[in-house]
Each structure stands twice: as C-alpha cells, then as structure tokens.
C-alpha cells in the first residue's frame, strides 16, 4: 500500500503527518511526504526548511516506515503537487490537514483541500489540528 501525505510546517500539517504515520504502521505501507512551494516569493513559511525535513526523515526511519520525501518547487500549487504524487505512486490513500477557513477567505484564496477531495481518485483522509 502507498499513502501520500501533504505536509506543511503548521499544526494542521503535523496532525496530518501524525495520522499518516499511524495509518502507514497499521498496514505496513510506503509513505510519500509532499511539501511543496510555488517558489514565487522569497519567503514561504509553508515550505519546510532542511532541518525540519531531516527531523521528519529521522522520525520515519526510527519507526521503520518505508518513505519518500518530495519537495517540489516548480510553480504548481499544493493541490496539484499532492494529486500528481498520488497518481505517480498509485496511492491508496491521501492524508491532508484541514485548516479553518471563513467562506469569504475560501472564495478569495480557493481551497487546496477542496480540490484534493474533489479530484483525487482514491480515498482522502482529512485531519484537523489539535
């Protein structure tokens, strides 16, 4: 089995990662961790830095989970990157974190989670922080 998880260094992202690890241990699957950025701004706080990624790598290794960590920066939005990875690795499950969005905020910014939920070909597990 393969599980794709969309990771961002926020409480929602951490919750998604923790949930994905639990799922991966349950049925001994490969975990694909995606943390992407469009790379258009000089600063993107949702893009994990090297030491952050190293921490995750260690955490997964000590738990004995087979894993791939991907950090694409090629101008695609996060939803596209997660869906891409799901297709490429023939994912059986996608895990994402949901954040609280007002209807207006959603109208203006769009919703990454919504796009993944609607367009994914496999089950999607949505997790909330805390």
């Amino acid at each position: 089995m393969t599980i794709v998880v969309g990771y961002v260094p926020t409480p929602e992202g951490e919750a998604a990662l923790a949930q994905a690890i639990t799922e991966a241990r349950k049925n001994n699957s490969t975990l694909v961790v995606i943390n992407s950025s469009k790379g258009e701004a000089a600063v993107d706080n949702r893009f994990a830095q090297d030491d952050d990624i190293q921490g995750i790598e260690q955490r997964l290794a000590t738990q004995g989970i087979q894993h791939v960590i991907k950090r694409p920066v090629r101008g695609h939005d996060a939803a596209a990157e997660v869906l891409d990875a799901a297709e490429e690795h023939k994912a059986d499950l996608i895990v994402i974190g949901l954040r609280r969005r007002t209807p207006v905020g959603k109208l203006i910014m769009g919703s990454t989670s919504q796009r993944i939920l609607l367009e994914a070909d496999c089950p999607v597990l949505a997790v909330k922080a805390g």
């Binding site: 950025s37 790379g39 258009e40 701004a41 000089a42 600063v43 993107d44 706080n45 101008g75």
Partner: protein
C-alpha cells in the same frame, strides 16, 4: 548666506505639509524596495521619474531623498532576518546580523542597525551640509580641463574599483558611452549613431534608458529565474536594545560614520568598501573577539552606520560637482536634467532653495525612518512573502507607462524594450549596470568639457594638461589603472590572505 540660515530655510520648505507628505511616502517606499531583494532605490527613482513630472521639482527630490535613505535602511532588515542582503551595501551586515538573529537576538540586531543608521545618517547629512558649500567654493575655480579630468577619474574609478571584473566593467562603460553618443552633435550638428532614424536625432531620453536598464532589465532577469527555493524568515518582535548593547554599539556607530562619509564622498567611494573596512576594524578592536562569527553586535552596528554615512557622503559630489558615484545618485542626477536643472557647482547658486530643502529633507527622512523602522520591522519582513510575478508585472506596467509618458511617442517603447533586453543580457553575462548608466549620464558632459578644452587650446591636446589639478588627477588615474599590476607583484612576494566572502550575497550586486 551662511550654511545655517540656508539650512533653516530648507527646513521651512521641507516641512510644508505637502513636502512632508512626499518625504513620508519616499521613506516608506524606499524601505519597502530596500527590503525586497532585487529592487533597489535606483530602480524606484527611475520608475517614479516620469510620474513626478507634474510635481514641483522640490517635492520630487524630497521624495527621492526619502527613497534613497529608506533603501539603505531596508536592506539591513533582510540581511539580518533572511541572510539575503537587499542591497549590496548591506552584504557585510548579513555576516554578523544573521548569526545574531539565529541566536535569538534579531531584535537587538535590528535595533542597532536602525539606530546606528540614524546616528550615522544624521552626522553624515550634517557633514554634507558643511562640506558641500566648501567643495563648491573650490569647484567654481576649476576650468574645463580639470573638470574633464575629474569626470574621467569618476568614470574610471567606479568602473575599475567597484565590481569583480574590470573587463566587464569597462565593457559596460563602453556601452554606456555609446548610448550617450546617440543623437545630434551639439557643436557641428552631425548625426551620430542615428541609423537614419529621425526620431533618434534628439538622442535617447535618459529617463527611458534608466527605466529600461534598471526596471525592464531586472524584471526580465527575475522572470527568467522566477522559481527559487523559498526560505523561512526568522520571527522577531519589537526591536530593542539593552544597556549593554548600547555600550557596545555607540563606538562602532561613530567609527562606521568616520569610514563611511569620506568613502561615499570620493568619486569611486560607494558603500561597499567602508562597510567592509568597518567590519574588519570592529573585529580587531572588539573586547568580545569570541563572539565574532557567532553574532557580535559590533559587526552589525559598525557596517550599518558606515553604509548610511556613505549614502550621505555620496550626495556631496552629486550636489556640489554634479558627479554621481552610485546608481541612485546617477538617476537623481538624470532627474535634475529632466527638470531642466543644470547639475554642477553652479547648482547651489542657481537652485539654492531646492538644494537646501533636499538636505533638510534628509534630516527629516532620517528621523522618520527611525520612527517607522523600529516599530514596523516585523511588518516589513512580511513583504518578502509577496509573490514575485505580481510585483514584477506591476514594475513592467509602470516602466512602460513611464517610458511612454516622457514624450508620448510609441518609438520610446521600442527603445525601452531594446535597452531592456540589453539590461537583461548584461545581467546574464555578469556586466555591472552602474558603469553603463554613469556612461550615459556623464558621457555627454565629459564630451562637452573635452570640446571646451580643445577649443580653448585651438585643438592642441596639450590643453588638457594646462591646469595643475588636472595633471594631479591624471596621476591618480594612472595609479588606479596600474594598481592591479602592482598588487600582483606585491602578492607574489607575500603569501595570499584568505578573502572574507559573505555566505549568501545573492543577486544584490545589481541593485545599487
């Protein structure tokens, strides 16, 4: 009129509500572009030139002065919080400043940078007010041969001393001089480099050239490598300093000022050399040598003071002699010309109120920057989350609008694009843009002085050496040109020292 009363008149002009408003706009805009890597005060002033045609020249220059000083302040914020200097003059600040921020002392680093900039900027501006009239008194006695020599010195020095490659510097200077030649010869009426195109007969508008090289060239360059791995910014609260930080900062501030001002005032000064010298000095004099390399506050205080003092120093030759030594001063000089004001030693006499209002606004801008920057530093850092495509699309829009509005000729847009492509190619091949813009601005004026000299001596080249000051300057030029060879000989006899290179100097070389 003595300096003091002229300066007070200047304050009276600069503090009228409208002019004060422009000063506020200037410093805010300047800080913003200083924070953003790749945007510099030179580009901003160039973009605003066409927009400010409708304003009083005084208001426009007050705004430009705010942008200029604001850019110096803003650069330090990114150096400290991101290790990416927004300006080439804040490269040295990043060495210790970023280490301080990583050690959790970002607030103190920002505070010493801001207060140091204020102290140095104020002292530097005071020195400018005192020195510039003295330089003018000396300069009005100079004849055409000396002027010609001084301008040649400025061009060669900026080209040869700044930047990493002399060959590239001179290539860029050559391009600039060639662009400056386009148009009708002022003495004989001969058409030069016009390719039979009547629209080129009046020459290229300096505003269009500046906008093309700084704005269009840079925007194309950024668009070509739009995607970079994003970084995290170090979170910071309100900048503040403890008693110990003050004790350790005030001497580096003053020493930085002493380094910065004279270097800025020299024809080839720039802000890079004094910031570096200040850093090395502080490292040698510090009582906490163990902290250097790990985030020593002296290593932020000194260089930041030096770069602001140099910024003030740069305005001395710009206002007193009409000699720009950095990109922003060059564009400001172009602004003088486009307002129909003749730069040079006569500027203080012919446009006294404007010049003194400009100097007064520098004092005001400095104070405003301190008031704006201390509480707002974390907010400025947020600007870095702006997606670049929006930013550069806006710049291209303003550049096109500006270039068209200068003469309302569609032909100017063609020139804008051609020179914009040139600016892009220069960045691609690592040619510095400063020698080009200086060549364009100073080229025609150098030619004028050369012609005058040769007419006075009836075509005899010996006329170039007819003034003792001119001869002295040619000796200095000779030394500058021979220095690398002498240095090589020197190096051969002594072991090479390890150079000090900052970790992440980015593309900052272009912006200033």
């Amino acid at each position: 009129m003595d300096v003091w009363s002229s300066l007070m008149d200047g304050f009276a002009t600069a503090l009228t509500p409208m002019n004060f408003l422009y000063a506020v706009i200037g410093v805010i805009l300047g800080t913003a572009v200083g924070v953003l890597p790749g945007l510099g005060p030179a580009m901003t002033v160039a973009l605003l030139l066409p927009v400010t045609y409708a304003l009083e020249p005084t208001s426009a220059f007050i705004m430009f002065a705010g942008i200029y000083y604001g850019g110096m302040y803003g650069g330090s914020t990114t150096s400290i919080l991101l290790n990416t200097p927004g300006e080439s003059s804040s490269v040295v600040t990043a060495i210790e400043g970023n280490k301080m921020a990583k050690a959790g002392r970002a607030a103190q680093a920002l505070a010493t940078a801001a207060i140091g900039s204020f102290v140095a900027g104020t002292i530097g501006t005071a020195l400018l007010a005192v020195c510039a009239p003295i330089v003018v008194k000396f300069a009005v006695s100079l004849g055409a041969p000396s002027y010609f020599a001084i301008m040649v010195l400025a061009l060669l020095a900026v080209t040869a001393v700044l930047g990493s490659s002399r060959l590239r510097g001179f290539a860029s200077l050559g391009l600039g001089l060639a662009i400056g030649l386009v148009g009708m010869d002022s003495v004989t009426g001969q058409r030069r480099l016009t390719f039979g195109q009547p629209l080129l007969a009046d020459g290229l508008d300096i505003v269009v050239v500046a906008v093309a090289i700084f704005a269009v060239g840079e925007a194309l360059w950024v668009a070509a490598h739009l995607r970079r791995t994003p970084m995290h910014i170090i979170p910071v609260g309100q900048p503040w300093m403890g008693k110990k930080d003050w004790q350790r900062s005030w001497k580096p501030w003053l020493r930085g000022t002493v380094f910065g001002f004279p270097f800025g005032a020299l024809p080839a000064g720039g802000a890079e050399i004094p910031t570096f010298l200040s850093y090395v000095t502080e490292k040698r004099l510090t009582k906490h040598p163990e902290e250097f390399g790990k985030g020593a506050i002296e290593g932020v205080a000194g260089p930041e003071a030096a770069n602001n003092a140099a910024a003030a120093g740069t305005l001395t030759p710009m206002l007193a002699l009409g000699l720009p030594t950095n990109a922003t001063a060059a564009v400001m000089l172009a602004a003088f010309t486009s307002y129909g004001i003749q730069p040079g030693p006569q500027l203080f006499a012919s446009e006294g109120p404007l010049v003194w209002a400009l100097i007064a606004s520098l004092f005001i801008g400095n104070l405003l920057l301190l008031l704006i920057n201390l509480p707002l530093a974390p907010l400025w850092a947020k600007l870095l989350q702006l997606p670049r495509p929006y930013l550069y699309a806006g710049i291209l829009f303003f550049a096109t609008l500006g270039a068209y509005s200068v003469n309302l000729q569609a032909f100017d847009l063609v020139i804008l694009l051609v020179l914009g492509a040139l600016g892009f190619m220069m960045r691609r091949f690592g040619l510095p843009v400063l020698p080009l813009i200086l060549g364009v601005i100073l080229g025609p004026r150098i030619e004028g002085q050369l012609r005058k000299t040769l007419q006075l001596s009836a075509g005899d080249p010996a006329g170039l050496f007819s003034e003792p000051i001119a001869v002295g300057i040619y000796v200095i030029i000779g030394l500058i040109l021979l220095w690398p060879f002498a240095y090589k000989l020197f190096r051969r006899t002594r072991p090479a020292r390890t150079p000090l290179v900052p970790a992440n100097s980015g593309a900052a070389d272009y912006s200033d």
